[in-house]
Symmetry: C2
Subunit: 138 residues, 2 copies
Amino acid sequence: MKVTPQRLAILQFLEGNTSHPTAEDIYRELKPQFPSLSLATVYNTLEALAGGGELQEVRITSNRRHFDPNPVPHCHFLCQNCDAIYDLEMWPEELRVPCEIDGNLILNSTLYLYGTCSRCRANQGNGGGDNDKENEPG
Amino acid sequence: MKVTPQRLAILQFLEGNTSHPTAEDIYRELKPQFPSLSLATVYNTLEALAGGGELQEVRITSNRRHFDPNPVPHCHFLCQNCDAIYDLEMWPEELRVPCEIDGNLILNSTLYLYGTCSRCRANQGNGGGDNDKENEPG
DNA sequence: GAGGTTAATTATAATGGTTATAAACAAAGA
DNA sequence: TCTTTGTTTATAACCATTATAATTAACCTC
């Protein structure tokens, strides 16, 4: 796997990033610095990194793939009010892989939670708006 | 919500069905008995039933929605060898909803497992083929 | 460094599951 | 039976993702 400026830029953008961006998000962010960057390159790079276990895909929403540079198993929480995706460190004991359940060999697992995040709960309690889709977590 | 022959047929097809069909699967199965049936009707009906909590969507594969008539929380297991989806009754204690984690209100959750099913493990042990995509469970 | 091989990047077209649309139709109640 | 209202149907649109093929750049060897 060759080292290219595009791949370095994508890796650098993802490093420590907890916003769970989509390929499109990454493309939009890097395009100004990399006018020649192609969306296909972003997809190719993410595919390669995910395949190598260096990041995980997050399929918590119906129609988009998000990406998380943290490869350690943890669960993801989608706030259905503001659409933000949060990392939660909780991970059930039963899901330590590899393991065996009813004769099946379990090699991998995903755990997605849905509800209302603490920030939105506070806003709603204060009589704030119902649907703060812009208020992503910091 | 009106009772129509199409909806009854879809409900009847799903009742007790553990094969986790897609909308397309249901459409293909029912089309012979219902020549006028439209794929859009299948989607509409599934959407309505899922919204009413009478069945659950299973988004265990990358690009297709599967449906499960069993609304009780349980986890889903995809065999990456034969592509079959199995129900597993295991459900971690921590995932009983509603609950609260780090101040977030959790209302719903999904748990997907990936690996090799017992049937494929047995086949592989016997020197059988690697990729029995046709061998769906009975 | 220069040359050659091989893989990556790019722009763009194609894919395909799902959703939207609007007209035709049928269920349920009066 | 009539009317209203929601449903079905066929089809077009949507849009995230993938495939394609030509161009370009990384990396190895000399």
